[in-house]
């Protein structure tokens, strides 16, 4: 039963207006995923194989974190590496042995960059040989700016992880699945994928437990050595909208069945996510309506701040569709949803929920702009004058100086936004500029632009 087939693509195309611009937009380089992944996978080490440009980006993007002895580093390519005067194998061996000696990780991730792509460094070919020689697992992910944007970096890493078989845990894991437990319904193992902070992992696991569903494992797990056992026929479900490669890998390579659900962002999304998983296991969901209502009750104050206000997503992290859907449900009007890349299959259920939400709120479905052009977007923002623009840091201050409220989109990637419990965090973020500016009102709303 492949759930993805349930999404009627032709039906969607007619109703949602998709457009594609020039791709001249600002976003983070996908190697930034090492920032949250090295923290998530506690026994890992991330080696980014690239140039000074990559290093400078990481150093500046991750700010203070760099000083906490991070478990990541650059393998900085020098002129000799580019012109192939040095052997990639020998160089990588030298660095990996150094990392092994200094940090003793359980796994080294090699993050391929634009440069390794262009000089065609055969990372996937070198890794298995070196892995055997230094007896340390090496996972290769090509998180480069030629192909991907920002959060898609995590997708490449998880897709690579999904292909690692985990033989060691075979027996114990099997036992766990068979053992009886009164708390759970008997069902085919379910594995969730997507890197979210441990507290949120626990929260979502507990929500499913309330429905009698046992989560057999998470990809990624807290430690590399605890990677879940993934068997043919298992169910998998994503928690983040940017994990299409991981989903594809799990389906095609590991022969898992994907549950295509909206993503658990906002109380509406969380409920839809849970209901979809329940329906796959033929479970009648319990108490979700009440649970969702309770959460909305708690969000009342925040909803009152944004009800009827307009928002414009410039697009840079692929969370845009889910966030827009939640904000529409909260009463906002969305002018435009910019998004770097739109997988209409993987996000099918989310798109349907967006459609349904717009219909119920009786507002037109916002236009979805793939690969946006920031210059044109700023033009449109000038015309439309939205109450809030969700954008990257390159545009935030200039827009504020022109009297337009902004929220940095990057914060949504680092904040805890999943599940019922954290719905409030999302609205806390969205309303912050509005709340701040209410307090500043007395200074007046004149523009602060200098006339350069």
């Amino acid at each position: 039963m492949n759930q993805i087939k349930h999404v009627d693509n032709n039906d969607l195309k007619e109703k949602i207006n998709f457009e594609c611009e020039t791709g001249n937009y600002h976003t983070f380089c996908p190697i930034s995923c090492v920032a949250w992944l090295y923290q998530k996978i506690e026994d890992s080490f991330f080696l980014v194989i690239g140039t000074k440009t990559c290093g400078y980006f990481l150093q500046n993007a991750l700010g203070v974190m760099i000083f906490a002895e991070p478990r990541y580093a650059m393998a900085e390519l020098e002129e000799g590496d580019i012109s192939a005067q040095l052997s990639d194998y020998e160089e990588l061996k030298r660095l990996c042995l150094q990392v092994k000696r200094d940090r003793n990780p359980s796994v080294i991730f090699w993050i391929g960059t634009c440069t390794t792509e262009i000089i065609k460094m055969d990372l996937e070919g070198i890794a298995p040989k070196l892995e055997a020689e230094i007896s340390l697992p090496i996972v290769v992910a090509r998180a480069n700016g030629l192909d991907y944007a920002f959060t898609q970096g995590e997708d490449t890493v998880l897709a690579a992880l999904a292909q690692r078989p985990n033989a060691k845990q075979l027996e114990t894991q099997l036992e766990k699945v068979i053992s009886h437990d009164k708390d759970y319904v008997k069902h085919v193992p379910l594995i969730l994928f997507g890197s979210i902070p441990d507290p949120v992992v626990n929260q979502l696991t507990l929500e499913l437990k309330k429905q009698g569903i046992r989560v057999s494992g998470w990809l990624p797990s807290k430690r590399y050595t605890e990677l879940p056992l993934i068997n043919e026929g298992n169910y998998v479900c994503g928690v983040n909208p940017y994990l299409s490669r991981t989903a594809t890998t799990l389906m095609r390579r590991r022969k898992c069945k994907l549950i295509g659900a909206p993503f658990p962002i906002g109380p509406d999304g969380t409920r839809a996510w849970l209901e979809k998983i329940c329906s796959v296991f033929c479970i009648e969901p319990k108490g979700l309506q009440q649970r969702e209502d309770e959460i909305w009750e708690k969000l009342k104050y925040y909803v009152s701040l944004i009800d009827g206000k307009s928002v414009f997503f410039m697009g840079d992290n692929l969370l845009e569709i889910s966030l827009a859907r939640f904000l529409i449900r909260s009463g906002m009007i969305v002018f435009e949803i910019g998004i770097p890349y739109m997988d209409k299959r993987y996000q099918g259920a989310e798109l349907q929920l967006l459609q349904k939400t717009c219909k119920e709120k009786n507002i037109p479905i916002p236009i979805i702009i793939e690969k946006p052009d920031n210059y044109n977007q700023v033009d449109r923002i000038r015309d439309m004058k939205p109450d809030l623009v969700i954008t990257g840091m390159a545009h935030a201050n200039p827009l504020e100086a022109r009297g337009i409220n902004t929220k940095w989109s990057v914060e949504f990637t680092f904040a805890q936004i999943h599940g019922f419990t954290n719905a409030i965090e999302v609205l806390e973020l969205v309303t912050r500029p509005l709340r701040r500016n209410q307090k500043l009102e007395k200074i007046g709303s004149q523009r602060y632009t200098d006339r350069r």
């Binding site: 000083f67 660095l95 634009c114 192909d147 507290p199 708690k298 840091m393 200098d450």
Partner: protein, 510 residues
């Protein structure tokens, strides 16, 4: 390959972009993959700029790899020409594009046929030069281009101004306290009755570059960026330049004497000695301050200095010559400028360290155990770990080193600021030390139990999972979360706190 966790100087294109975006109405187009336009974030966030950064990317993606950039770069240049009407477009290669070895110069030639704007290709090698060297080179390239252009169209006027005048070469964005330094230099020049002919590149228009030769001389306050331009102007128009950084009272006096020498060479007949004397003794406070009793305590204290060559050298001079502090070692990450640095501070410190390896610097600091460190943000963090006070004196820096208030490092006001910085670093260290000797601020344990809902005899227990979860909460709010959860559990008449109760409590509290 090199294993690197941190770098002191950025990649070459950052230098080029800093120069291009400092000029008014100049647009830079990076030939770069998605995500490399990180410069815009830095400029917008660190300097809190209100304008959009005039840098866009001509994105290198799979299609470009397969077929070459073809029309893409040319189209992007002419598009920006129409949209923004810049005076100049600088095509900026990145490390990625430089290995593609496309003929970017050809694109520039083709584009400039159609555009109103001038178009230049930044001439920097990404694998050989760093941010500062690239910036230095780009500034020279742009100046040279507009001088040549003026020469060709016979618009170049090299007559000197009637009054003594100067060009300040060295104002740019994302530089350490630069805005304040330039303001201080302007004040100094006005005190000396010298007209400012031009300040480049920040806020300058490329059209005014042809007027550079009208000044009597050039000042290059920082070694890293601007020297090439000054040398070019000297070769081309025999313009003298001063590369003495007026940082600290002694060096400021040296700089002023050099100005006097140049002016008198041009028959201006000036004497600045009295000005120097009054400034040093009365207007500026730092010379008196270092003679005051308070500063006696600093005599012979051990310090180490690290930064770019300009700031590290100037700081070493101030510490040793003006404050009597013992600089154990001074160092710079500007490896290409080694011989200058050695010449400047050779006899002022016990040892010189030239490296861009922050691990080595960290180890050297730990070994010496100085009373104070003057360095970059990186040294500040090393200092924190080792519990040594630290003053930040050089890039690379964070947002807190772009202060709103007036904080020059140059000139007489700069000397005051530096004296404060030095003194405050030391007192903090001293205070800390005394506190340690006398056993800390509070002699009693803080009774956190008293703030809790129940004291230790609480009947509420935490199960293993929730305890583990509690330890993950950052220390500064853990107490609050613990209290709230216990209160919640009590209200719900629960005896054992589980994960579920923790989250329920969080929801209830929200």
């Amino acid at each position: 390959m090199k294993l690197a966790y941190w770098m002191y100087a950025g990649p070459a294109h950052i230098g080029t972009l800093r120069i291009a975006s400092s000029f008014k109405n100049v647009h830079a187009i990076m030939h770069a993959p998605l995500g490399d336009d990180y410069f815009n974030v830095m400029r917008s966030m660190l300097e809190r700029k209100r304008d959009f950064t005039a840098v866009t990317a001509s994105v290198v993606d799979r299609h470009v790899l397969a077929r070459g950039s073809q029309e893409k770069v040319v189209n992007n240049i002419s598009r920006k020409d129409k949209e923004e009407k810049p005076d100049l477009v600088v095509l900026t290669p990145t490390c990625t594009s430089s290995i593609l070895q496309e003929d970017l110069q050809n694109f520039v030639n083709r584009a400039s046929i159609e555009t109103q704007a001038d178009v230049l290709l930044a001439d920097v090698n990404h694998y050989r030069v760093n941010e500062m060297q690239a910036a230095d080179r780009t500034l020279e390239q742009i100046v040279q281009f507009y001088i040549k252009k003026a020469q060709k169209t016979k618009q170049l006027d090299t007559t000197k101004t009637i009054e003594p005048s100067v060009n300040i070469i060295g104002s740019f964005n994302l530089a350490f306290h630069n805005q304040h330094d330039i303001a201080e230099l302007k004040r100094l020049m006005s005190d000396l009755n010298i007209k400012i002919n031009s300040i480049i590149p920040e806020g300058a228009s490329v059209q005014e570059l042809k007027n550079l030769p009208k000044a009597w001389f050039n000042i290059v306050p920082y070694r890293e960026i601007g020297l090439l331009t000054a040398e070019y102007l000297k070769d081309e128009f025999d313009m003298p330049f001063i590369d003495t950084t007026p940082m600290g009272v002694v060096e400021t006096a040296n700089c002023i004497r050099k100005i006097q020498y140049i002016l008198n060479d041009n028959k201006a007949d000036v004497n600045f000695e009295k000005y120097i004397d009054i400034q040093t003794r009365f207007v500026s406070q730092s010379a008196w301050f270092s003679r005051s009793i308070d500063c006696q305590n600093l005599t012979g204290k051990k310090a180490i200095v690290f930064g770019d060559s300009t700031h590290a050298a100037a700081m070493t001079k101030i510490l040793t010559k003006e404050m009597g502090i013992n600089v154990v070692w001074a160092g710079t990450y500007c490896k290409y400028d080694k011989s200058w640095f050695e010449k400047e501070v050779g006899d002022l410190c016990d040892e010189i360290v030239i490296t861009d390896d922050h691990n080595l610097i960290g180890d050297l600091i730990a070994k010496v155990e100085p009373a104070v460190i003057f360095g970059t943000q990186m040294e500040r963090h090393v200092a924190k770990r080792l519990n040594i006070p630290c003053g930040v004196i050089s890039a690379p820096v964070h947002i807190q080193n772009f202060p709103l208030s007036y904080r020059p490092f140059l000139g007489y006001e700069g000397a005051n600021q530096i004296a404060d910085l030095i003194y405050n670093s030391f007192t903090l260290g001293m205070e800390d030390h005394l506190l340690e000797i006398f056993g800390g601020h509070d002699t009693k344990e803080v009774l956190s139990a008293g703030l809790s809902v129940n004291s230790q005899d609480s009947e509420i227990k935490w199960n293993l999972e929730s305890q583990a979860e509690l330890t993950k909460i950052p220390g500064f709010i853990r107490g609050k979360i613990k209290r709230n959860t216990e209160k919640f559990a009590q209200e719900q008449k629960m005896e054992i706190i589980t994960l579920e109760i923790m989250y329920a409590a969080k929801e209830a509290a929200a």
